[in-house]
Amino acid sequence: MITEHTSCKEDHIEFTKITVSDLIDELNELYPNLKTLDFQVAINNKIVDKESRVTEKEIALLPPFSGG
Protein backbone atom coordinates (compact mmCIF):
# COMPACT_ATOMS: atom_id res chain seq x y z
CA MET A 1 0.00 0.00 0.00
CA ILE A 2 2.87 2.36 0.86
CA THR A 3 4.44 1.73 -2.53
CA GLU A 4 1.42 3.19 -4.29
CA HIS A 5 2.05 6.44 -2.44
CA THR A 6 5.79 6.53 -3.02
CA SER A 7 6.15 4.62 -6.32
CA CYS A 8 9.05 2.71 -4.82
CA LYS A 9 9.45 -0.28 -2.52
CA GLU A 10 12.57 1.02 -0.82
CA ASP A 11 14.71 4.09 -0.86
CA HIS A 12 18.00 5.16 0.67
CA ILE A 13 18.05 8.61 2.20
CA GLU A 14 20.63 10.62 4.11
CA PHE A 15 19.04 11.34 7.45
CA THR A 16 20.75 13.78 9.77
CA LYS A 17 18.03 14.60 12.30
CA ILE A 18 17.05 12.65 15.40
CA THR A 19 13.56 11.25 15.93
CA VAL A 20 11.02 9.15 14.07
CA SER A 21 8.77 12.15 13.76
CA ASP A 22 11.62 14.11 12.08
CA LEU A 23 12.00 11.19 9.71
CA ILE A 24 8.29 11.20 8.88
CA ASP A 25 8.48 14.94 8.15
CA GLU A 26 11.37 14.31 5.83
CA LEU A 27 9.60 11.44 4.07
CA ASN A 28 6.48 13.58 3.66
CA GLU A 29 8.60 16.15 1.83
CA LEU A 30 10.15 13.51 -0.40
CA TYR A 31 6.83 11.73 -0.99
CA PRO A 32 3.96 14.24 -0.54
CA ASN A 33 1.36 11.48 -1.11
CA LEU A 34 2.45 9.78 2.11
CA LYS A 35 0.74 12.56 4.08
CA THR A 36 -2.64 11.07 3.30
CA LEU A 37 -1.73 7.73 4.84
CA ASP A 38 -1.68 6.48 8.43
CA PHE A 39 1.14 4.11 9.24
CA GLN A 40 3.34 2.79 12.02
CA VAL A 41 7.10 2.92 11.84
CA ALA A 42 9.35 -0.06 12.58
CA ILE A 43 13.07 0.14 13.19
CA ASN A 44 14.94 -3.14 12.95
CA ASN A 45 11.61 -5.03 12.78
CA LYS A 46 10.19 -3.42 15.89
CA ILE A 47 7.38 -0.87 16.06
CA VAL A 48 8.58 2.34 17.70
CA ASP A 49 6.85 5.52 18.84
CA LYS A 50 7.25 8.88 17.17
CA GLU A 51 9.67 10.19 19.80
CA SER A 52 12.10 7.31 19.38
CA ARG A 53 15.57 8.02 18.09
CA VAL A 54 16.35 6.79 14.63
CA THR A 55 19.52 4.81 15.19
CA GLU A 56 19.37 1.84 12.88
CA LYS A 57 19.52 1.85 9.16
CA GLU A 58 16.51 -0.25 8.25
CA ILE A 59 13.16 1.44 8.68
CA ALA A 60 9.77 -0.01 7.60
CA LEU A 61 6.44 1.80 7.25
CA LEU A 62 3.34 -0.27 8.09
CA PRO A 63 -0.19 0.86 7.28
CA PRO A 64 -3.22 -0.92 8.78
CA PHE A 65 -5.30 -3.06 6.40
CA SER A 66 -9.02 -3.53 6.78
CA GLY A 67 -9.81 -6.05 4.03
CA GLY A 68 -11.11 -9.53 4.65
Binding site: L37, I47, P64, F65, S66, G67, G68
Partner: protein, 354 residues
Protein backbone atom coordinates in the same frame (compact mmCIF):
# COMPACT_ATOMS: atom_id res chain seq x y z
CA UNK B 1 -11.74 -41.69 15.23
CA UNK B 2 -10.24 -42.35 11.81
CA UNK B 3 -11.38 -38.84 10.81
CA UNK B 4 -8.65 -37.30 12.97
CA UNK B 5 -6.05 -40.09 12.66
CA UNK B 6 -3.53 -37.84 10.88
CA UNK B 7 -3.66 -35.47 13.84
CA UNK B 8 -3.55 -38.23 16.43
CA UNK B 9 -0.44 -39.91 15.05
CA UNK B 10 1.45 -36.63 15.43
CA UNK B 11 3.21 -36.95 18.77
CA UNK B 12 2.73 -33.19 19.31
CA UNK B 13 -1.08 -33.62 19.17
CA UNK B 14 -2.09 -37.22 19.96
CA UNK B 15 -5.45 -38.27 21.45
CA UNK B 16 -5.04 -35.67 24.17
CA UNK B 17 -4.51 -32.79 21.73
CA UNK B 18 -7.35 -33.89 19.50
CA UNK B 19 -9.65 -33.90 22.56
CA UNK B 20 -8.64 -30.29 23.22
CA UNK B 21 -9.60 -29.44 19.63
CA UNK B 22 -12.93 -31.24 19.97
CA UNK B 23 -13.72 -29.25 23.12
CA UNK B 24 -12.68 -25.86 21.74
CA UNK B 25 -15.17 -23.12 20.89
CA UNK B 26 -14.23 -20.62 18.21
CA UNK B 27 -16.31 -17.66 17.02
CA UNK B 28 -15.56 -16.65 13.43
CA UNK B 29 -16.58 -13.03 12.76
CA UNK B 30 -17.09 -12.60 9.03
CA UNK B 31 -17.59 -15.54 6.67
CA UNK B 32 -15.89 -13.85 3.73
CA UNK B 33 -12.49 -14.23 2.08
CA UNK B 34 -10.68 -14.89 5.37
CA UNK B 35 -13.57 -16.58 7.18
CA UNK B 36 -14.08 -19.26 4.53
CA UNK B 37 -10.62 -20.90 4.73
CA UNK B 38 -10.54 -20.52 8.51
CA UNK B 39 -13.94 -22.21 8.83
CA UNK B 40 -13.00 -24.95 6.42
CA UNK B 41 -9.85 -25.95 8.34
CA UNK B 42 -11.33 -25.52 11.81
CA UNK B 43 -14.37 -27.64 10.93
CA UNK B 44 -12.17 -30.27 9.28
CA UNK B 45 -9.89 -30.30 12.34
CA UNK B 46 -12.90 -31.01 14.53
CA UNK B 47 -13.17 -27.80 16.55
CA UNK B 48 -16.13 -28.79 18.73
CA UNK B 49 -18.17 -25.60 18.55
CA UNK B 50 -17.88 -23.09 15.75
CA UNK B 51 -19.92 -19.90 15.68
CA UNK B 52 -20.26 -17.93 12.45
CA UNK B 53 -21.53 -14.37 12.51
CA UNK B 54 -22.14 -12.43 9.28
CA UNK B 55 -25.08 -10.34 8.07
CA UNK B 56 -23.98 -10.33 4.44
CA UNK B 57 -25.44 -12.30 1.54
CA UNK B 58 -23.43 -14.36 -0.95
CA UNK B 59 -22.92 -12.42 -4.18
CA UNK B 60 -21.42 -13.62 -7.43
CA UNK B 61 -18.33 -11.41 -6.97
CA UNK B 62 -17.57 -13.31 -3.73
CA UNK B 63 -17.07 -16.66 -5.47
CA UNK B 64 -13.60 -15.69 -6.78
CA UNK B 65 -12.20 -16.16 -3.23
CA UNK B 66 -14.91 -17.23 -0.76
CA UNK B 67 -14.41 -20.93 -1.32
CA UNK B 68 -17.21 -22.28 0.88
CA UNK B 69 -19.84 -20.93 -1.50
CA UNK B 70 -21.07 -21.96 -4.92
CA UNK B 71 -23.65 -20.78 -7.41
CA UNK B 72 -26.39 -22.39 -5.33
CA UNK B 73 -25.47 -20.13 -2.37
CA UNK B 74 -26.11 -16.85 -4.23
CA UNK B 75 -28.44 -14.55 -2.31
CA UNK B 76 -28.24 -16.67 0.85
CA UNK B 77 -26.87 -15.29 4.12
CA UNK B 78 -23.18 -16.19 4.44
CA UNK B 79 -23.36 -17.57 7.99
CA UNK B 80 -26.21 -19.87 7.00
CA UNK B 81 -24.64 -20.94 3.69
CA UNK B 82 -21.31 -21.63 5.42
CA UNK B 83 -23.01 -23.70 8.15
CA UNK B 84 -24.73 -25.80 5.50
CA UNK B 85 -21.47 -26.52 3.68
CA UNK B 86 -19.53 -27.22 6.89
CA UNK B 87 -22.16 -29.64 8.19
CA UNK B 88 -21.48 -31.74 5.14
CA UNK B 89 -17.74 -31.49 5.82
CA UNK B 90 -18.07 -32.48 9.48
CA UNK B 91 -21.42 -33.43 11.00
CA UNK B 92 -19.84 -34.38 14.34
CA UNK B 93 -19.30 -30.77 15.45
CA UNK B 94 -21.72 -28.08 16.57
CA UNK B 95 -22.02 -25.13 14.17
CA UNK B 96 -23.98 -22.03 15.13
CA UNK B 97 -24.95 -19.50 12.46
CA UNK B 98 -25.72 -15.92 13.53
CA UNK B 99 -27.10 -14.24 10.40
CA UNK B 100 -26.76 -10.69 11.69
CA UNK B 101 -24.13 -8.03 12.21
CA UNK B 102 -21.84 -8.02 15.23
CA UNK B 103 -22.57 -4.85 17.22
CA UNK B 104 -22.22 -3.46 20.71
CA UNK B 105 -25.55 -4.98 21.78
CA UNK B 106 -24.59 -8.59 21.02
CA UNK B 107 -20.76 -8.73 21.05
CA UNK B 108 -20.13 -9.26 24.77
CA UNK B 109 -22.68 -12.04 25.29
CA UNK B 110 -21.57 -13.83 22.10
CA UNK B 111 -17.86 -13.58 22.96
CA UNK B 112 -18.57 -14.97 26.44
CA UNK B 113 -19.77 -18.21 24.84
CA UNK B 114 -16.48 -18.83 22.98
CA UNK B 115 -12.78 -19.39 23.81
CA UNK B 116 -11.20 -17.72 20.78
CA UNK B 117 -12.40 -14.95 18.44
CA UNK B 118 -11.32 -15.11 14.80
CA UNK B 119 -11.39 -11.70 13.08
CA UNK B 120 -12.18 -12.06 9.38
CA UNK B 121 -14.05 -8.80 8.96
CA UNK B 122 -13.58 -6.31 6.15
CA UNK B 123 -13.80 -2.94 7.86
CA UNK B 124 -12.10 -0.98 10.66
CA UNK B 125 -15.33 -0.42 12.54
CA UNK B 126 -15.73 -4.16 13.19
CA UNK B 127 -12.05 -4.65 13.92
CA UNK B 128 -12.05 -2.06 16.73
CA UNK B 129 -15.37 -3.39 18.02
CA UNK B 130 -13.92 -6.94 18.12
CA UNK B 131 -10.79 -5.71 19.88
CA UNK B 132 -12.68 -3.86 22.59
CA UNK B 133 -15.25 -6.63 23.17
CA UNK B 134 -12.43 -9.22 23.36
CA UNK B 135 -10.54 -7.08 25.89
CA UNK B 136 -13.72 -6.71 27.97
CA UNK B 137 -14.45 -10.46 27.89
CA UNK B 138 -10.77 -11.50 28.10
CA UNK B 139 -10.68 -13.55 24.88
CA UNK B 140 -7.79 -13.87 22.42
CA UNK B 141 -8.28 -12.62 18.87
CA UNK B 142 -6.72 -14.28 15.85
CA UNK B 143 -6.40 -11.40 13.40
CA UNK B 144 -5.97 -11.40 9.66
CA UNK B 145 -6.30 -8.51 7.19
CA UNK B 146 -5.59 -8.13 3.51
CA UNK B 147 -4.98 -5.42 0.94
CA UNK B 148 -4.66 -6.25 -2.77
CA UNK B 149 -1.59 -8.56 -2.71
CA UNK B 150 -0.52 -8.04 0.91
CA UNK B 151 -1.67 -9.65 4.12
CA UNK B 152 -1.17 -9.31 7.87
CA UNK B 153 -1.62 -11.91 10.62
CA UNK B 154 -1.36 -11.49 14.39
CA UNK B 155 -2.79 -12.73 17.69
CA UNK B 156 -4.10 -10.08 20.05
CA UNK B 157 -5.03 -10.10 23.73
CA UNK B 158 -3.49 -13.54 24.25
CA UNK B 159 -2.41 -14.23 27.86
CA UNK B 160 -2.51 -10.50 28.65
CA UNK B 161 -0.48 -9.73 25.56
CA UNK B 162 -0.75 -6.66 23.31
CA UNK B 163 -4.06 -5.79 21.63
CA UNK B 164 -5.01 -4.39 18.23
CA UNK B 165 -5.07 -0.88 19.73
CA UNK B 166 -1.48 -1.39 20.98
CA UNK B 167 -0.50 -1.76 17.32
CA UNK B 168 -2.89 0.71 15.67
CA UNK B 169 -4.48 2.81 18.42
CA UNK B 170 -7.12 4.49 16.28
CA UNK B 171 -8.82 3.83 12.95
CA UNK B 172 -7.05 5.63 10.08
CA UNK B 173 -8.24 8.90 8.64
CA UNK B 174 -11.39 8.75 6.57
CA UNK B 175 -11.14 7.13 3.16
CA UNK B 176 -7.39 6.61 3.24
CA UNK B 177 -7.49 2.81 3.23
CA UNK B 178 -9.76 1.34 0.58
CA UNK B 179 -11.38 -2.09 1.05
CA UNK B 180 -11.46 -5.09 -1.28
CA UNK B 181 -14.67 -4.11 -3.03
CA UNK B 182 -13.21 -0.72 -3.90
CA UNK B 183 -9.72 -1.77 -4.92
CA UNK B 184 -9.74 -5.51 -5.62
CA UNK B 185 -7.90 -8.42 -4.06
CA UNK B 186 -6.03 -11.45 -5.38
CA UNK B 187 -8.40 -14.37 -4.73
CA UNK B 188 -5.81 -16.73 -3.29
CA UNK B 189 -4.45 -14.14 -0.81
CA UNK B 190 -7.25 -14.50 1.80
CA UNK B 191 -6.78 -18.27 1.39
CA UNK B 192 -3.14 -17.97 2.46
CA UNK B 193 -3.79 -15.50 5.27
CA UNK B 194 -6.94 -17.35 6.45
CA UNK B 195 -5.07 -20.66 6.56
CA UNK B 196 -2.43 -18.98 8.74
CA UNK B 197 -5.18 -17.72 11.05
CA UNK B 198 -6.56 -21.27 11.29
CA UNK B 199 -3.03 -22.44 12.16
CA UNK B 200 -2.65 -19.84 14.95
CA UNK B 201 -6.10 -20.80 16.28
CA UNK B 202 -5.14 -24.49 16.47
CA UNK B 203 -1.79 -23.61 18.10
CA UNK B 204 -3.66 -21.67 20.81
CA UNK B 205 -6.12 -24.54 21.35
CA UNK B 206 -3.27 -27.05 21.59
CA UNK B 207 -1.26 -24.86 23.95
CA UNK B 208 1.72 -24.70 21.62
CA UNK B 209 4.53 -22.19 22.02
CA UNK B 210 5.45 -19.48 19.54
CA UNK B 211 1.98 -17.98 19.21
CA UNK B 212 2.08 -14.86 17.01
CA UNK B 213 1.41 -12.56 19.97
CA UNK B 214 3.13 -9.16 20.03
CA UNK B 215 4.12 -9.78 16.44
CA UNK B 216 2.67 -8.73 13.11
CA UNK B 217 3.38 -11.16 10.29
CA UNK B 218 3.36 -9.38 6.92
CA UNK B 219 3.18 -11.25 3.63
CA UNK B 220 3.52 -9.97 0.06
CA UNK B 221 2.03 -12.37 -2.49
CA UNK B 222 3.74 -10.63 -5.43
CA UNK B 223 7.29 -11.08 -4.16
CA UNK B 224 6.59 -14.04 -1.81
CA UNK B 225 8.44 -11.99 0.80
CA UNK B 226 7.38 -12.22 4.42
CA UNK B 227 8.67 -10.50 7.53
CA UNK B 228 7.59 -10.26 11.16
CA UNK B 229 7.51 -7.00 13.10
CA UNK B 230 7.28 -7.02 16.89
CA UNK B 231 5.32 -4.53 18.96
CA UNK B 232 4.82 -3.84 22.67
CA UNK B 233 1.80 -3.83 24.88
CA UNK B 234 0.45 -0.33 25.52
CA UNK B 235 -1.24 -0.48 28.91
CA UNK B 236 -2.89 2.92 28.54
CA UNK B 237 -4.75 1.75 25.40
CA UNK B 238 -6.01 -1.34 27.25
CA UNK B 239 -6.98 0.68 30.34
CA UNK B 240 -9.02 3.04 28.15
CA UNK B 241 -11.01 0.10 26.78
CA UNK B 242 -11.53 -1.43 30.23
CA UNK B 243 -12.60 1.93 31.64
CA UNK B 244 -15.28 2.17 28.95
CA UNK B 245 -16.97 -1.09 29.95
CA UNK B 246 -20.15 0.49 31.29
CA UNK B 247 -20.59 2.63 28.18
CA UNK B 248 -19.71 -0.12 25.72
CA UNK B 249 -23.33 -0.87 24.80
CA UNK B 250 -23.96 2.73 23.80
CA UNK B 251 -20.62 3.35 22.10
CA UNK B 252 -20.63 4.09 18.39
CA UNK B 253 -18.08 2.28 16.25
CA UNK B 254 -19.63 3.73 13.14
CA UNK B 255 -16.71 5.50 11.50
CA UNK B 256 -17.78 7.53 8.57
CA UNK B 257 -15.02 5.92 6.49
CA UNK B 258 -16.40 2.49 7.05
CA UNK B 259 -20.12 3.04 7.14
CA UNK B 260 -20.60 -0.17 5.28
CA UNK B 261 -23.02 0.23 2.43
CA UNK B 262 -24.38 -3.13 1.41
CA UNK B 263 -24.82 -3.44 -2.32
CA UNK B 264 -27.11 -5.94 -3.94
CA UNK B 265 -27.28 -7.18 -7.51
CA UNK B 266 -30.48 -7.01 -9.59
CA UNK B 267 -30.85 -10.76 -9.45
CA UNK B 268 -30.42 -10.99 -5.67
CA UNK B 269 -32.69 -7.98 -5.17
CA UNK B 270 -35.54 -9.46 -7.20
CA UNK B 271 -35.26 -12.76 -5.34
CA UNK B 272 -35.00 -11.16 -1.91
CA UNK B 273 -37.91 -12.06 0.34
CA UNK B 274 -39.83 -9.31 2.12
CA UNK B 275 -38.31 -6.64 -0.09
CA UNK B 276 -39.45 -3.04 -0.30
CA UNK B 277 -38.12 -1.26 -3.38
CA UNK B 278 -37.65 2.50 -3.11
CA UNK B 279 -36.90 4.55 -6.23
CA UNK B 280 -35.01 7.66 -5.12
CA UNK B 281 -34.69 9.30 -8.57
CA UNK B 282 -36.40 12.55 -9.51
CA UNK B 283 -39.93 12.09 -10.94
CA UNK B 284 -38.80 13.02 -14.47
CA UNK B 285 -36.02 10.42 -14.70
CA UNK B 286 -36.65 7.61 -17.13
CA UNK B 287 -37.26 4.73 -17.45
CA UNK B 288 -39.86 4.55 -14.68
CA UNK B 289 -39.90 1.19 -12.95
CA UNK B 290 -42.73 -1.27 -12.80
CA UNK B 291 -42.22 -3.10 -9.50
CA UNK B 292 -44.85 -4.25 -7.01
CA UNK B 293 -45.48 -1.82 -4.09
CA UNK B 294 -42.71 0.48 -5.36
CA UNK B 295 -42.20 3.63 -3.29
CA UNK B 296 -41.00 6.71 -5.17
CA UNK B 297 -39.24 9.24 -2.94
CA UNK B 298 -36.53 11.49 -4.47
CA UNK B 299 -33.24 11.52 -2.54
CA UNK B 300 -33.59 15.12 -1.34
CA UNK B 301 -37.03 14.35 0.15
CA UNK B 302 -35.95 11.09 1.79
CA UNK B 303 -35.26 12.44 5.26
CA UNK B 304 -38.68 14.12 5.54
CA UNK B 305 -40.43 10.95 4.43
CA UNK B 306 -38.79 8.26 6.54
CA UNK B 307 -42.17 7.46 8.11
CA UNK B 308 -43.25 5.99 4.77
CA UNK B 309 -40.52 3.34 5.00
CA UNK B 310 -41.72 0.02 6.45
CA UNK B 311 -39.13 -0.84 9.12
CA UNK B 312 -39.80 -4.58 9.04
CA UNK B 313 -38.83 -4.98 5.38
CA UNK B 314 -35.58 -5.27 3.47
CA UNK B 315 -35.28 -1.88 1.85
CA UNK B 316 -33.73 -1.87 -1.61
CA UNK B 317 -32.79 1.60 -2.84
CA UNK B 318 -32.69 2.33 -6.53
CA UNK B 319 -31.26 5.29 -8.43
CA UNK B 320 -30.08 5.49 -12.04
CA UNK B 321 -26.68 3.80 -11.74
CA UNK B 322 -26.16 2.89 -8.08
CA UNK B 323 -24.30 5.95 -6.78
CA UNK B 324 -27.04 8.08 -5.23
CA UNK B 325 -28.60 4.97 -3.73
CA UNK B 326 -25.43 4.54 -1.62
CA UNK B 327 -26.00 8.04 -0.24
CA UNK B 328 -29.58 7.01 0.53
CA UNK B 329 -28.32 3.99 2.48
CA UNK B 330 -26.07 6.32 4.52
CA UNK B 331 -29.06 8.54 5.29
CA UNK B 332 -31.01 5.49 6.47
CA UNK B 333 -28.08 4.31 8.59
CA UNK B 334 -27.96 7.75 10.19
CA UNK B 335 -31.58 7.21 11.23
CA UNK B 336 -30.77 3.70 12.49
CA UNK B 337 -32.53 1.95 9.62
CA UNK B 338 -29.93 -0.73 8.94
CA UNK B 339 -31.71 -3.35 6.82
CA UNK B 340 -31.22 -1.50 3.55
CA UNK B 341 -29.28 -2.13 0.36
CA UNK B 342 -28.09 -0.10 -2.57
CA UNK B 343 -29.02 -1.66 -5.91
CA UNK B 344 -25.78 -2.06 -7.85
CA UNK B 345 -25.99 -0.63 -11.36
CA UNK B 346 -29.31 1.04 -10.48
CA UNK B 347 -32.38 1.19 -12.70
CA UNK B 348 -30.23 0.82 -15.82
CA UNK B 349 -28.99 -2.60 -14.83
CA UNK B 350 -32.31 -3.68 -13.36
CA UNK B 351 -34.06 -2.98 -16.68
CA UNK B 352 -31.36 -4.87 -18.56
CA UNK B 353 -31.70 -7.82 -16.19
CA UNK B 354 -35.48 -7.95 -16.41
Amino acid sequence: MSRYSRHIILSEIGQHGQKKINKAKVLVVGAGGLGCPVLQYLAAAGVGTIGIIDDDLVEESNLQRQVLFGSSSLGINKAIAAKERLEDLNATIDIQAYPYRLDTSNALSLFNDYDIIMDGTDNFESRYLINDAAVLTDKPIVYGAIYKFEGQVSVFNYNNGPTYRCLFSEAPKENTIPNCSEIGVLGVLPGIIGAMQANETLKIILGFDHILTGQLYCYDALTSNAFTISFDKNDSEIMKVLAGKELFGSKSYNLSCSDRILEISSRTALEKPNAQFVDIREPDELPRLDLPDLLEIPLDKLEQNLKLIPRDKNIILICRSGVRSKKAVSIFHKHKIMNCYSLRGGAVELMAYK
